[in-house]
Every structure is written in C-alpha cells, then in structure tokens.
Symmetry: C2
Subunit: 486 residues, 2 copies
C-alpha cells in the first residue's frame, strides 16, 4: 500500500537527500513491504520510508534530523521479534531505521577474547567469524540465520546456552549507540571494571530501541568447542529433571544446555516434522536434552562424562531411560526435535504462547500446578511448558480445544487464557517476559501487572531519554497509560 | 559541633517522631559525630539528624517524609567509601540515613545458591553465614569487616576475587529498594531471565544512592572452597605477568586471584609493616600473588596445580623465581603484603592515588608508559601501579618528591598530577573510576572528562528519578554543571 508522507516526513526526506550513501534511503513500497510485517505475520505496520544507513555517522545524521522534524523511528535488525518489537505502527507515522547494512565484524581479538560487531551483523556470521579464529560466541538461538547483533543486544536475547554463559547482558563488554540527541555514545572499550556513574550500557541492553539506537557492540568470546556430546533422557517429572541438573552441576562445569520437554511436545514433533524419530525407545512423560562440551585438552571427553553421569542417575532412579548421540548427525537430530517444537505445535492447532520465568527452584512445581489450573479453568484446553529449565524459563503454551475456529479463538478466548497464565506467574514472583521482551504484544499486560512504582520508573527513564516518544513508538512502555487492550 | 536544624528538618523530625522504632532517630551530636567524617579523615560533613531505620517500611516512611519536606538524605552503610561517597555536605543541609541497623541475613538457600541480605549486613558476616551452609559469597576486599551489602551494591564494589566471579553487578540476583517517591521496588525474586523493560536493578547497582535507597539484595553464592593454594612469583615486567595469567587461564579455571605489584610496593611494605618478610629470596622488579582453589572433590589439588603451572612458566622463562605458601599462615602472610600496600605507601609519604582501568590487554604497556610520562612531567615524583592486572584495574599512585610538606603538596601539586594521570587514562580508552566510584572526590573530573552525550544522559537519569536532588546530594553527578574544583 502506497502511503502519503506526512509533511514532517517530507521535510525529513528533503533534509537527508544527498547527505547519505547511495542505498540509504528507500521509498519504493515494494522494497519496503517485507519489513512492514513481523516474521510470523501477526503484526502489520506501514511506513513510507525505510532508512538503511551504512555507518554510525549516518545513523547519527538520520537520528538528529528525525528528532528535529519529530518523525518517529522504528529500529529494525533481522525482523525476528516474537512480540512485534520491530514492526512500525500501522498508521504510517514512523519510518523504519534498518541496521542491516551495518554488517561488519570490525575486529576479533582472539587473545583478549573480544569481538566488535556492528548492529547489522547476523548472529550466524558472528559465529563463523569467531570460529575462524578458534573462538566462539556462545549465545545461539533458532533465528541465528536472521537475527542481528543490534536486535539481540536491544532485546537482551537468551537462547539455549544461557545456562553456562548467561543472556546477552552477560556477553556485552561494550556498546556504541546513537542517543536521542543525535550524539554518539562511544562505549566500545571493553573495561572489565568501570564505575563512572549510571551504567548506560546496561540501560540500553534490553531497551528495545526505545532509548536510542545500538550501532555496535564489543562481545565476549569463549574458547572454541573441541568436542561435544548430546544426550537424551526420559524422566518422571520436572522436579526430577531439576534434581538431575543440580547433580550434574555439582560435579562438572561442562553442561551447556539442559532443555526440558513434555511427552506431548515430542509427539507433536514426531507427527508434524518430517524425518524425526524418538531418541529413546520407551515412552516417558518428560524428556531432557543435555549437551556437554570440552574446550581444553585436559577436559574429560564429554561423551564419557555424560555416560558416567547418566549411568549414576539411572542407578539412583532419577533417569528412566537415556541415550547419547553416537554421531554429530544424531546430535543434530536431537537438537532438531527441540528446535521444532514451536513449528510442530503450530501445526497441531491454535495455542496461546507465553514466555515466562520464575525462580529456578520454583519452576518444577509451577509447571505442574499452573498446567492443572489452566486445564481446569478452560475446559478442553491443554497446557504444558517446555524449554530452559535451568534458567527458570519455559515457554508455557495453552492449546485451544479441538475443532475451534482458530481466528475466533485467538480473539475471543486466548486473551483470557493469557491473563490467567500471567496472573499465575506474577503470583509465583515471576516474569511475564523472560527472553522475548515486551514489544507491542505485552505492553498492556506489563501495565496491568506492574507495580505503580515500577511503571513510574520505566516512564521516567523513557521520558528522560525520549521526551517526544520518537524511538520505537508503541513498544515496551507507553509514555502515558494506554487504554486497556490485548 | 551542634547544628541548628533548618525549618524543613524540624518539620521532618516532628513528622517522624513517634512513627519509628525506638532508636531510629538520633540527634545527639556526640553520637552522630563519628559518621560525619569519612574513614580516612579526608571529607568532613555535618548533620543535625541521623536516621537509622530498622526495616524497609521505616526507610520508606523516612524517604516519603523527607521528600515531602525537601530534606536531602545521605545514605550510609559502613562508611568505608574511598571517594567521600557517604559523607554528608558540610553545610548541614542533608541528614544521614544509616542502614546499619538493617543487618539481617533474611535467608540462605544453599541448594539454589542464593542469599537474601539486608543493606546493613557487614560483608564479613555474610561470608560467615554462607560458610555455615557450605557456600561462599565470593566478593571480598580489605574493608570486609565494616563494608555493608547496601554500600557494596550501590558502589558496584570490586575487590580481589573479581577475576573469576566479577564485580558486585555480577553477583546481585535481585534487589529491594525504596525509590524517591517512597514506594518500595520489590525485585528480590531471583529470576535468571527477566526482560520486562529497563533493568532497574542494573540502574541502582553503582548509583551510589543517588536514585533511591537499596534496602536488601538477593546475592549469588558459589561452592565453598575445599582447598586453596597461594603462590608468589617474580616476573620481569607487567607484560610477562599478563602472559602468565593468559597461560594459566588457557589451562585451568581454578585461578581466583592474580595481583601484580612492583618491587617498590613490596619494599614499602617490608619497611613499614611489622612482621612482614619477602616471600622469595631474589630481588625482582615485579611480583604476582596467585591464588588457586578447589571446590569439587575431583578438582586437581590447587598446590599441585600451581606447582605444575609455575614450573612450566619457569622453564619457559616467564617467571624468574616462585614459591608456594606451605601453610595457611604463610598464605595469609602473602595476602597481608598485598593488603598492606596502601598503608605502607601512606607511611612512606604523600601520594596522589588513582583507581583506574583500561582494557586488560592494554594495561601492561599503560603501566610502564604512564609511569614514565608522569615521572618526566613531575620531576622528583615516582609513579607506579599495583593491583588487579587480570581486571585491567590498577591503583596508580604517584608519590610526592621527598621532603615536600604533605598538606601543601596535596593542595598545590597533587591536583595537577591527578588531571595528568586521568588524561592519560582517557587517551587509553579507560575509566577514571574502576571500582572506587565517583563520590564527591571525582565529581569535577568526571565532568571534565566525560563526553557531553554521557553527561547529559547521567543528568537526565538523575533528574528523572530525583528532580529535587535529595538523594546523596553532591555525589556522582551534579544536577547543574558544577564550578570547576578539585
């Protein structure tokens, strides 16, 4: 749809024309269209202009001009947000600021274990660049072929290796950003200690682009993996799974992933994803996927380690059945099951999805009790959680009753399910957004469920940095209380 | 000195009288006096009232009343700031809010490795409480017998175990704080993942009490030490010391401390601190103190580990002489040398002290070049650095020429030395405050050396939280640009 530009947008375009590199301004609707809708097709935005600057200086120029003309900016990286965080508003009031052309890995210092990557670097490309120097950037997730460093920083991304290395927050050693006044904050120097007042880096991590534009980051690297082993185990319940993890952690630091899934997730994958097969022969109510690695020559071979630890756990009755992948192809097949759960569940039917966390020790009980409460409250639905047990973070999905009409269920029923789940999470002292952020999807729920003190603090920060609401408008926090909506 | 209360302070006192627990209000000048001056006797403040609330609710009551009456608050824990951060202004305009009575360890969960400690808990007491449950709170520093959790959080404290476990920022899993509107931010739940907007916890850590009052923290614990070994080695220069550390890190994760000191620091300690003796017999230009630990039954015994690694380093020529402490008493004696450097240097004569950081890889060269530049620029002075090489953080001290009059030198000469050192640090991409914070001591230097963008961001945050400048006035950032001073 061709949009008419507002007078302010026209002035902005006139101001910037000729001042930026060749491909930095896009106004062809066909070229803009793919970036107006989120990757799952849930949020539809609209914009007459897409900027794609090639350098930090160009970002600063665009930001300064946009603020001068009061034109809002929707920053965008790989457009893989789970919460509509990178989709512009539908009314055409904002323009997209895509960082994708800023895709240089500026430097890798293998000795100091640091990489400096621009905001548009795709995660998989950073993985490859680090591997070429016998180092590794440990954070990874399903969207690694599209997600960009700027987006991962701005959403404090998690993924499947958080257990050992933490979220993005723990891996960012320095940041470069363009602040709302158009100035460049140069914080790329990787200082392990720096107490010069409020930590702007920490504030920008996870701010979803609402306080300024991240243009580059200095990232910590870890030693490359020499060898890995992947195992699959059947367990009786989430409590046993957590006990298993605790036993492992008491004996080794080699466990990098520990993912939990219920039997029905496995069944959905086997039914809907081609070329998948059950890793173990027996039927089990719950499953864990475990990855162990060796990075140093003296480290115990991870296969021997897992066989030993799982053997002990079998004897102790904590594990009911287990197998280790005997080849890299089989290891990848195990991981493919885990990474296909969301797709498989979508094929199964409509579901309300929730990315939630509670304290780790409370998660096994929460999973069981919340699922039972949900099933009782919404007859015909089926609730279950899967994911990062060791992080206290699961994706808690509530499947719609069979034979409902999907579109109608999402509008008429799902919001009540979501509010019910979120209320349980808050009652358990948890978070309604563990790793997927707020974006536009959870804005109203964040307002509904946050204390007045917390909301006031969020608004005060937003207003201090962006008084006119020009940076990623409609995401994370509304400057004024928004009308109740879902 | 008895101070006359301002009318606002009188109203505050009247408002709070009878609403707080028995010992919560102190107006006896003799009882207040010890808390009006910092522990090194450099900063002298004055106040007519000291509040010492016993609970978070009482803190909230005091904060709300103080904001209503526009009375400024100087929060104070153990009063061990190195930068005058806990000393009230000399004009009596602020009252002290001491957290020392909030000294309960609320809970320790050994399984989840978490402790909840109130702001007034003394660090050594937390160490003991964790040890009683076979766990350890790893952060430690010289002032552990006085420093409190609230102060350690609010200053993002460092210390000698940062190498492995990071600063306070990495050890805080949750926070409770009273915000400037008198509301209680309850963020004690230890969520490993939580992306509900801007991270208030991260903002309050290191804010020096200027954005609100930290009342309690959930802190990460680590396994107790089963066995430790401490070694002393002589090296040719800081570059060799860093290479030694890198070699160790490539082979083990057991190194917890790696402290570097020049020969003249050792000589000063031996000359001025009773019952100290040189760990190694040969004279060496630089020394490193290394601590390795074992926490799991299968870990290599740390003594054997250090002997093996140091033996290899001797053969490789990286180390010139080395010895390992053969008893716990000897290990403590090695540490006493390190911990006595500041005292010994004070006894040697006046010195300008700087707590600085640069990227780790840049530190060896910085230490040599900055010392040479300093000695050349200020004839008769002697500059050298010691401390946390692996963190890129040293305490860079410039000794006054012999036979100067101390008081006069501090006023007439030291400020220029400090500005010179700080300029070198900034040129190297470093920080003028690595772990001691800004307080009142470095306020003018932070303003002089920060980019306008950074200063504007700091002021915007401060104004958003504390528009009337009532929280720890005169520390960290001035609401309006301050007059040049030292």
């Amino acid at each position: 749809m061709a949009l008419v530009m507002t007078p302010a947008q026209q002035r902005l375009l006139a101001d910037l024309s000729g001042r930026l590199s060749e491909r930095a301004i896009v106004t062809d609707p066909a070229e803009i269209a793919p970036w107006e809708t989120d990757w799952r097709g849930r949020y539809h935005g609209s914009t007459p202009i897409l900027f794609q600057p090639a350098s930090t200086a160009e970002v600063a120029t665009i930001v300064a001009a946009a603020v001068r003309e009061r034109v809002a900016l929707t920053p965008q990286g790989g457009n893989t947000s789970m919460v509509g965080g990178a989709t512009p508003p539908p009314d055409g009031s904002a323009v997209i600021l895509s960082l994708r052309r800023m895709n240089r890995v500026r430097s890798i210092d293998a000795e100091a274990r640091l990489a400096v990557a621009e905001a548009g670097v795709i995660l998989a490309d950073l993985h490859a660049a680090a591997a070429a120097q016998a180092r590794r950037f440990p954070l990874t997730l399903g969207a690694r072929g599209s997600a960009t460093i700027g987006g991962l920083v701005s959403t404090n991304a998690g993924g499947t290796q958080v257990l050992r290395f933490g979220t993005m927050r723990g891996l960012v050693a320095g940041l470069e950003a363009v602040l709302p006044d158009g100035s460049v904050h140069d914080g790329l120097a990787a200082l392990k200690k720096d107490n010069r007042g409020y930590d702007l880096k920490q504030l920008l991590i996870g701010a979803e682009g609402t306080l300024g534009i991240v243009t580059a980051a200095t990232l910590r690297l870890v030693p490359a993996i020499r060898e890995r082993a992947v195992a699959w185990a059947g367990v009786a319940n989430p409590a046993d799974a957590l006990m298993l993890l605790r036993r492992f952690e008491a004996k080794t630091q080699a466990i990098e992933s520990f993912e939990l899934l219920p039997d029905d997730s496995l069944i959905a994958v086997l039914a809907h994803v081609p070329d998948t097969r059950a890793p173990i022969a027996t039927a089990q109510p719950w499953h864990v996927l475990i990855e162990a690695v060796a990075t140093k020559p003296d480290d115990e071979p991870p296969m021997a380690l897992l066989e030993r630890l799982l053997g002990e756990a079998l004897v102790a009755g904590l594990v009911r059945d287990a197998t280790a992948a005997t080849s890299e192809a089989q290891a990848e097949a195990f991981w493919r099951i885990r990474d296909s759960i969301s797709d498989a569940e979508r094929a199964t039917g409509p579901a309300a999805q929730h990315d939630i966390s509670v304290p780790v020790a409370a998660m096994p009980r929460f999973m069981i009790e919340a699922a039972a409460a949900c099933d009782a409250r919404f007859p015909g639905t089926h609730a279950s959680g899967f994911g990062h047990l060791g992080d206290g973070n699961v994706h808690f999905h509530v499947r719609a009753p069979e034979s409902v009409e999907a579109a109608r269920w999402y509008v008429d029923e799902a919001p009540a399910v979501t509010r019910f789940v979120h209320d349980l999470v808050v009652a358990a002292g948890g978070s309604i957004s563990a790793e997927h952020d707020i974006g536009q999807m959870k804005l109203a729920e964040l307002e509904r469920l946050s204390s007045p003190a917390r909301l006031a603090a969020l608004r005060a920060i937003k207003t201090a940095f962006d008084p006119h609401g020009l940076f990623n408008p409609g995401k994370l926090v509304a400057l004024a209380p928004s009308a109740p909506s879902e």
